[in-house]
C-alpha cells in the first residue's frame, strides 16, 4: 500500500460512498424488487440482477436496492417500486430486463416516470 496523502482520504471516502450511504440508509432513490413466491416464479431474480447491473453500470452511489415480499398483485409480477426521495413511490408491473433498463435510465436517473409500465403512483394505506 502506498503512503497516503491528505487528498487520498477524500478519494477513499468517495470510493466507499456506496457502502456508507447504504449503511446510513441515505439514498436518493430506493428501488424495491418484490420477491414473493409469485414474484420469484415470474422471474424477479432476473429483474433483481438487471437492477443491480444497471446500478453498477451507472456508477451511482446514492441508489439503494432492496427487496420486499409480494405486493398483492401476483398476476402482474414481476414488479418493482421506485421511490425517489420526497416523491411518491411508483409501482411498475409485468417487467422484463429491457423494461427495467428503460425505467432505470428514465425514472431513476432522469426523474421521468415511465407511464407505459407504471401501475400506479403512491402506496396503499396501511392504517
Amino acid at each position: 500500500m502506498p503512503k497516503l496523502k491528505i487528498e487520498d482520504l477524500d478519494k477513499i471516502v468517495e470510493q466507499q460512498k456506496k457502502t456508507t450511504s447504504l449503511r446510513d440508509g441515505a439514498g436518493r432513490v430506493k428501488i424495491t424488487v418484490h420477491m414473493g413466491t409469485c414474484g420469484i416464479s415470474a422471474g424477479a431474480r432476473k429483474i433483481m440482477a438487471e437492477v443491480m447491473r444497471c446500478v453498477e453500470e451507472s456508477g451511482a452511489s446514492d441508489i439503494i436496492v432492496t427487496t420486499s415480499g409480494c405486493a398483492g398483485l401476483c398476476s402482474r409480477e414481476p414488479m418493482i417500486t421506485v421511490e425517489v426521495i420526497e416523491q411518491a413511490p411508483v409501482k411498475y408491473v409485468e417487467l422484463d430486463e429491457k423494461k427495467v433498463k428503460k425505467i432505470f435510465d428514465e425514472h431513476v436517473m432522469k426523474g421521468n416516470v415511465v407511464e407505459d409500465y407504471a401501475l400506479a403512483i403512491g402506496s396503499e394505506r396501511t392504517s
Binding site: L4, D24, M52, T66, T67, S68
Partner: protein, 623 residues
C-alpha cells in the same frame, strides 16, 4: 479473522467489492459478547446459505464491533432497511436467508420484542434501548468493519489528524481541547486540555503519550468494546495528542484479558503504518508518531496512572505520591500524557466538529473554568438486574432513571429497584430517592459515588447492601498493592468487620468503627485506589444504614442474602407436596409425604437455595 491487512474477506468477489455493489449488508456483531454467543458460526452459516441461493454477489456479511445491546446477542442489523435481529443461532439462519435475503420478507420472530409488549420492533432506531443514546465515542459502532481501515476513513477517519497537521498549531489544538471542556473518561474527570497544556509546557525530551486501556472495574467493558469496534479512532486520538504536546512516541497499556481487542489493535497499527498514518513524516508534514502495545498482567492498581507507568517501565506496578504529576515527570521521568481510551476517541470528533459544538452537549459552563461542567457524552456498561444489559452512550446530564428504565428497560422479574452502583469499586451506591439525579462528574461525587470509568451495576430488592459492600472491599483488598499502610491494613480490617456483620458476629459500635476506619483511609492513603476504597462502605452506610442495623442489632438480613442470618422455610399452605424440592436437595434435608406439606430440617440445611429455585408454588421463603 484474516491476519493480512486489507485483503478482501475470503469469498467476497473482489470485483464486486471494488464497485461496492452489494444491495444488502448484514452487520453482524463481532464484539466479545456476541462472539462468545457464536457470531463466527453464524457468519459461516450465513455465507453458506447465501452461496446456496447464489446471493454472495448481492449480499455481504460484515463483522462489526460491539453493537451495545449485549443482552440480546448475537445481534445483526440488516442494512439499508435497518432491521434488527437478535438472539440468533445457527439454526435460525437457513430460514432467515431464504425469507429475508432471498424473498425480502423480514422474519418477525427473530426481531426484538420489548419486555411487557407483544409486538416485535423491526427497526433498530425504534427500539427504546437505542433511541435515547447519543453516539460520539461510539460513532462508528456497528457501522464499520473494525478490521478494514478504509471503512474507518470512509466515515471521515483520520481527517481530524489531517486537519491539525495542516491547519492548526499545537498550541491551538491544546486550546481547542481546553475550550471543549472534555474531562478524562477514565474516572478522575481531570480536564484533558489542561493536562495536555501542562505536559506541552513541561521541560524535558522526549515526551510520551500513553493510552490507559487497563480497564479493571468489575462489570465494566467500555474500553474493550471501543477498541474492538473502532481501533483506529483510538490511534487517531493519540496521534493528535502527540502532535499537541510535541511527542512522537505512544504506548497503549492494555489488559492481558482482552485478546480480541488486542488482535484488532495490532491489525489497526499495522494497517495505519502501511498507509503512512503512523510512522515517519505523516502526511508529509514532518510529524512522526509511532505506537507500541504493552500488555498488562492484570493488576487492578495498574489502572492508576503512576502504577501504570511503573509497570510500563518494567517495575512492580505500585503507585507513587503525585506531588509531581506525570504530565511533568511521567514515563522514564519524562513529561507524559496519560488518557483513557474513551477520552482519546472523543478527540477526533471535537477537532472535526469544533469545541463549540461539543460544549452544546452536557452540563454546566466551561467557558472560564474547565471544571465548570461535564461536557459531551459518557459510555456506560449497564449491567446487573436490568432488562437490557449492554453498552450505552448518553449525553452528560441524563438522569439515572432514564438510563435504567428508558434505556435499560427496568428491572426484570417484577422486582423492585433498590440501588445502582456507579464508578466500580471506587464508587458508591445510589438509592432510589436519587434516581432523578442528572449524571455528571460533580453530581455523582456530591452523592458519595463517582463517575469512574463507567460501570453501572443495577441492584434489586434481593441484593443485600452489606454484602455488596463486602464484595467490593474483598475485591479491593486482594488488589491493594500493599505499599501504604492505610490501604493495605484498612482494607483487611474492613473486610473482617464486614464479614463479622454478615455472619451476625458484630457488636454495637461496629458501624462507628467502620466509619472511622473509612475516613482514615480516605485521608491517608497514597493513591486513588486507597483513597476511594471506602466509598462502597460509606455510601451504603449513608443510604442503607437500616440494613446494617438489622444485621448488627437484630441479626437479620432483610434481603435474605447473608447465609448465617437466614433460615429457609416452606409455607405449609402453599406447598402441594410435589416432592420436587426434596428430590433436588443436596443435603436430603427436606422431609414430607407426597401431597403433604414438606418441611426443611434446618440443622441439615446448607442454605444453597436450590429448593426455592425449583419450587413451582413459590412456597419456599427466607426469614
Amino acid at each position: 479473522m484474516s491476519a493480512t491487512p486489507n485483503k478482501n474477506v475470503e469469498g467476497k468477489s473482489p470485483v464486486r467489492e471494488e464497485m461496492g455493489g452489494y444491495r444488502m449488508h448484514l452487520m453482524l456483531c463481532a464484539g466479545t459478547g456476541c462472539v462468545s454467543g457464536g457470531s463466527y458460526k453464524i457468519k459461516d452459516a450465513l455465507e453458506h446459505e447465501l452461496a446456496k441461493y447464489k446471493l454472495r454477489d448481492e449480499v455481504t456479511v460484515v463483522m462489526t464491533g460491539c453493537n451495545g445491546f449485549c443482552a440480546q446477542g448475537p445481534v445483526m442489523v440488516v442494512q439499508p432497511d435497518e432491521i434488527f435481529y437478535q438472539r440468533l443461532s445457527e439454526k435460525d439462519i437457513p430460514h432467515l436467508v431464504e425469507e429475508h435475503m432471498l424473498k425480502g420478507r423480514p422474519v418477525k420472530k427473530l426481531m426484538y420484542t420489548p419486555p411487557a409488549e407483544k409486538t416485535a420492533v423491526p427497526k433498530m432506531s425504534e427500539i427504546g434501548f437505542f433511541k435515547k443514546q447519543r453516539l460520539l465515542a461510539l460513532r462508528n459502532r456497528g457501522l464499520i468493519d473494525p478490521e478494514v481501515i478504509e471503512e474507518y476513513i470512509a466515515r471521515d477517519g483520520y481527517k481530524a489528524l489531517a486537519k491539525v497537521l495542516t491547519e492548526m498549531k499545537p498550541e491551538e489544538v491544546v486550546q481547542e481541547m481546553i475550550a471543549s471542556g472534555l474531562r478524562g473518561r477514565g474516572g478522575g474527570g481531570f480536564p484533558t486540555g489542561v493536562k495536555w497544556k501542562a505536559c506541552r509546557e513541561a521541560p524535558g525530551e522526549p515526551k510520551y503519550i500513553v493510552c490507559n486501556a487497563d480497564e479493571g472495574d468489575p462489570g465494566a467493558y467500555m474500553d474493550r468494546s471501543i477498541i474492538e469496534g473502532d481501533p483506529h479512532s483510538v490511534l487517531e486520538g493519540m496521534a493528535i495528542a502527540a502532535y499537541a504536546i510535541g511527542s512522537s512516541k505512544g504506548y497503549i497499556y492494555i489488559r492481558h484479558e482482552y485478546p480480541l481487542a488486542l488482535e484488532r489493535l495490532k491489525k489497526a497499527i499495522t494497517d495505519a503504518h502501511e498507509y503512512g498514518l503512523l510512522g515517519k513524516n505523516i502526511f508529509d508534514r514532518g510529524f512522526d508518531f509511532d505506537v507500541t502495545i504493552h500488555q498488562g498482567a492484570g493488576a487492578f492498581v495498574c489502572g492508576e496512572e503512576t502504577g501504570l507507568i511503573a509497570s510500563l517501565e518494567g517495575r512492580v506496578g505500585e503507585p507513587r505520591p503525585k506531588y509531581v504529576f506525570p504530565a511533568e515527570k511521567g514515563l522514564y521521568g519524562k513529561p507524559t500524557v496519560i488518557n483513557n481510551v474513551e477520552t482519546y476517541v472523543n478527540v477526533p470528533a471535537i477537532i472535526q466538529r469544533g469545541s463549540e459544538w461539543f460544549t452544546t452537549i452536557g452540563t454546566g459552563d466551561v467557558t472560564d473554568n474547565p471544571w465548570g461542567g461535564s461536557k459531551g457524552t459518557k459510555v456506560f456498561s449497564l449491567v446487573g438486574k436490568v432488562h437490557n444489559t449492554g453498552l450505552v452512550e448518553v449525553p452528560m446530564g441524563i438522569t439515572l432513571r432514564e438510563i435504567i428504565f428508558d434505556i435499560g428497560g427496568g428491572i426484570p422479574n417484577g422486582k423492585k429497584f433498590k440501588a445502582v452502583q456507579t464508578g466500580g469499586p471506587s464508587g458508591g451506591v445510589i438509592p432510589e430517592s436519587l434516581l432523578d439525579l442528572p449524571v455528571d462528574f460533580d453530581q455523582l461525587i456530591k452523592v458519595g459515588s463517582m463517575m469512574g470509568s463507567g460501570g453501572m451495576i443495577v441492584m434489586d430488592e434481593d441484593d443485600c447492601m452489606v454484602d455488596i459492600a463486602r464484595y467490593f472491599i474483598d475485591f479491593l483488598s486482594s488488589e491493594s498493592c500493599g505499599k501504604c499502610t492505610p490501604c493495605r491494613e484498612g482494607l483487611t480490617q474492613m473486610s473482617s468487620i464486614l464479614n463479622d456483620i454478615c455472619e451476625g458476629k458484630a457488636e454495637e459500635g461496629t458501624m462507628e468503627l467502620l466509619g472511622e476506619l473509612a475516613y482514615t483511609m480516605k485521608d491517608c492513603s497514597l493513591c486513588a485506589l486507597g483513597g476511594t476504597a471506602p466509598n462502597p462502605v460509606l455510601s451504603t452506610l449513608r443510604y442503607f444504614r437500616d440494613e446494617y442495623e438489622a444485621h448488627v442489632q437484630d441479626k437479620k438480613c432483610p434481603a435474605g442474602v447473608c447465609k448465617d442470618l437466614i433460615t429457609y422455610y416452606i409455607d405449609a399452605e402453599k406447598c402441594n407436596g410435589c416432592m420436587l424440592c426434596a428430590r433436588e436437595c443436596p443435603q436430603n434435608a427436606i422431609e414430607g409425604e407426597r401431597k403433604e406439606p414438606h418441611k426443611i430440617q434446618t440443622d441439615l440445611c446448607i442454605k444453597c437455595g436450590i429448593c426455592r429455585d425449583v419450587c413451582n408454588q413459590d412456597a419456599v421463603f427466607v426469614r
